[in-house]
């Protein structure tokens, strides 16, 4: 793509590339300010690179109540320059917001690094949706409130457990490569993982957190990113205590929603059943409370019958057993004819056809809208109903609360995905289960927790279960599923349950 050819309305980007020239001088860490107007122009364009990165931060204070206790924290907003592992040359200027508990001893205080995926996404979703001190109250899945949804205090923040650092990938948010690199330099599975490792190294060095227990929290593509980072960090000698995988896409080769034709949709079946149950269309029916029991029926149906039958169809064109088709129709709410015609059932077909005339969400299949989309161009109701609120509130929050202003546009989602080098370890598309296994081989104490939503049609929970089952019966690996979509934390009851489970996970990882 040519510079500036994106359709984004780049309101204030002064020019293509945002500067050039060399950057041989090491970055300078300037004193923080209470309220920082960053005049640097940031760009998400592939060819963009900074010539004069800064590390000035805005420092603000806040309080949040968890349980009956009030926690005072410091929010640090700005950039840090990652330095290459071997030669220490400046690589990229990462935009981040760090929440650190006042009065805590950094030596023992855990620190967690959060990032979304895409690739190309900023960390707006985890930052404003999950476990920071403030969260967007979307009311998922009913969304009965009036948009834009409000930003509220987050009684389930993880700040009582860990310091929290929300960092944007290069080319998203206000993160940008430093010359002579450009954003595109870091748009690939391996280079991106190394860049995140080097941001974390820099954050740790600048903030004297070498001895703090370290955690990663990545969502979606942030899951495979975490696996790559974890392996690289362990090799670099910076041990992790734990990795949280939020709805991860660990293996792109096991998810037919990412790329179909030769990939099995087997892992989706339980999600189809859970979604059908939500709308009262499954046989047997199941309330949310009965969902674990229903899923316990659908896992063996998937693993023993459906997934093997899909493989037989794809590899030898063997038609499925009609009795199996009848059973699939019952549990999923679709018809036998629909299964016959689409036996390797893609999520896009399911979310259009479960309820004719109604479109289910990709990220949260329980969120629906009347289907007015042209075939093949279906919107995602669970995205369109929350996206504008996230966008609006992020702008307000950065400037109004965190005291960081810039004339640049915060890029929620860049065009990086169209340039991304997906190859990894000899595969055309990444399978990062071996990276996670390598991290655990280097650090036997490393704990992994995967959290998924039963109603997520982007990264189905049972696919994650199957991916992680490859690690064997490892007591350091756990999977927990919740009522909800991709972003399980948006739902009140699930976020509360997640907080309790995460607190326990941190406790176990810190033993």
């Amino acid at each position: 793509m040519r510079c500036g050819a994106g359709w984004i309305v780049a309101l204030a980007l002064a020019g293509c590339g945002g500067g050039g020239g060399g950057a041989s001088a090491p970055p300078v860490t300037n004193p923080p300010t209470g309220n920082y107007l960053d005049a640097t122009v940031y760009s998400s364009q592939p060819t963009a690179s900074l010539s004069n990165p800064n590390e000035i931060t805005s420092i603000t204070r806040g309080q949040v109540v968890v349980g009956s206790q009030t926690f005072s924290y410091t929010a640090t907003t700005g950039h840090l320059t990652s330095l290459a592992l071997v030669d220490n040359l400046p690589q990229a200027s990462f935009f981040y917001v760090a929440y650190t508990l006042d009065g805590a001893a950094p030596v023992t205080r855990p620190v967690t690094f959060f990032y979304n995926g895409g690739p190309g996404s900023s960390t707006i979703w985890l930052h404003l949706g999950s476990f920071g001190p403030r969260r967007l109250d979307t009311g998922e899945p009913n969304m009965s409130g009036v948009a834009p949804f409000p930003l509220v205090d987050n009684a389930e923040t993880l700040l009582d457990v860990s310091d929290l650092v929300f960092v944007d990938a290069i080319g998203s948010g206000f993160s940008q490569a430093i010359a002579p690199n450009n954003n595109r330099t870091f748009w690939g599975v391996d280079v991106d993982g190394a860049a995140f490792r080097d941001f974390i190294r820099r954050y740790v060095a600048v903030n004297n957190r070498a001895s703090s227990p370290k955690f990663l929290y990545g969502e979606s593509y942030g899951g495979p990113r975490s696996a790559v980072i974890a392996d690289l960090m362990e090799a670099a000698g910076m041990s992790l205590a734990g990795v949280v995988l939020q709805s991860p896409a660990l293996n792109y080769n096991s998810n037919c929603g990412i790329i179909i034709a030769v990939v099995s949709c087997g892992g989706y079946l339980p999600t189809y059943g859970a979604t059908a149950a939500w709308f009262g269309r499954s046989n047997p029916p199941a309330t949310p409370a009965q969902l674990p029991g229903f899923m316990a029926q659908l896992r063996p149906l998937t693993d023993d019958l459906y997934a093997p039958a899909v493989v037989a169809l794809l590899t030898t064109a063997t038609r499925p057993d009609p009795l199996l088709v009848t059973r699939l129709a019952a549990v999923s709410g679709l018809t036998g004819a629909q299964w016959d015609a689409n036996f390797n059932m893609p999520p896009e077909f399911f979310r259009v056809n479960l309820q004719p005339g109604t479109l289910s969400g990709r990220y949260d299949a329980r969120v629906t809208l009347p289907n007015n989309s042209p075939p093949g161009r279906e919107i995602d109701p669970s995205d369109v109903l929350i996206g504008p609120s996230f966008s609006l509130r992020m702008g307000e929050y950065l400037a109004g609360t965190l005291g960081y202003t810039t004339p640049s546009t915060y890029t929620m989602l860049s065009n990086a995905i169209n340039f991304w080098n997906f190859s990894h370890d000899g595969n055309q598309l990444p399978d990062t289960v071996p990276d996670l296994a390598a991290a655990m081989a280097q650090n036997s104490r490393l704990k992994v927790l995967a959290v998924n939503g039963y109603h997520d049609l982007a990264t189905p929970f049972h696919t994650t279960e199957r991916d992680l089952a490859r690690l064997g019966n490892n007591p350091n690996v756990r999977v927990i599923n919740y009522v909800g979509g991709h972003m399980t934390y948006l739902e009140h009851s699930s976020r509360r349950a997640m907080k309790a489970d995460l607190a326990e996970f941190y406790r176990s990882a810190l033993q």
Binding site: L37, G120, P388, L392, N427, A437, A441
Partner: protein
């Protein structure tokens, strides 16, 4: 799979101009350049003929892990059968650098991949 690239309609650009109280600085609202599809591989980036790798587990997965670690080790050793502490440090292998004396049982000042492997296996032993 039907492409959903045209989902651009869902992209949310709130063009409200936001001003800070303190700096009165005009701050553009966040914006997205492509549809929010994660995970996703755009049609242009998809392999024309996808070779789906085996979902390794057990010994096959262990062999993959060993290959990853061995490749990294050998790259740092620059073609030599053994790795020195300085070579490990120069390659950014901080864990090996830090634990070099423990790995180098024979005090030769250089370790083999098998030395490193044994060290990792001992660390995984239940006795710890």
């Amino acid at each position: 799979m039907k492409t959903t690239l045209m989902l651009r309609a869902l992209v949310t650009i709130a063009l409200g101009v936001l001003a800070t109280g303190a700096a009165a600085q005009v701050m553009p609202a966040p914006a997205a350049e492509v549809p929010m599809l994660d995970p996703y591989v755009p049609p242009g980036a998809r392999p024309k003929s996808l070779r789906v790798p085996a979902a390794t587990q057990g010994p096959a997965l262990e062999a993959q892990v060993e290959r990853k670690l061995r490749t990294r080790f050998e790259a740092a050793a620059q073609g030599q059968p053994t790795l020195t502490r300085e070579q490990a440090r120069a390659a950014g292998l901080g864990a090996i650098t830090r634990e070099f004396d423990v790995i180098d049982r024979s005090r030769r000042g250089a370790i083999t991949f098998e030395d490193y492997q044994r060290h990792l296996q001992e660390a995984r032993a239940p006795a710890r």
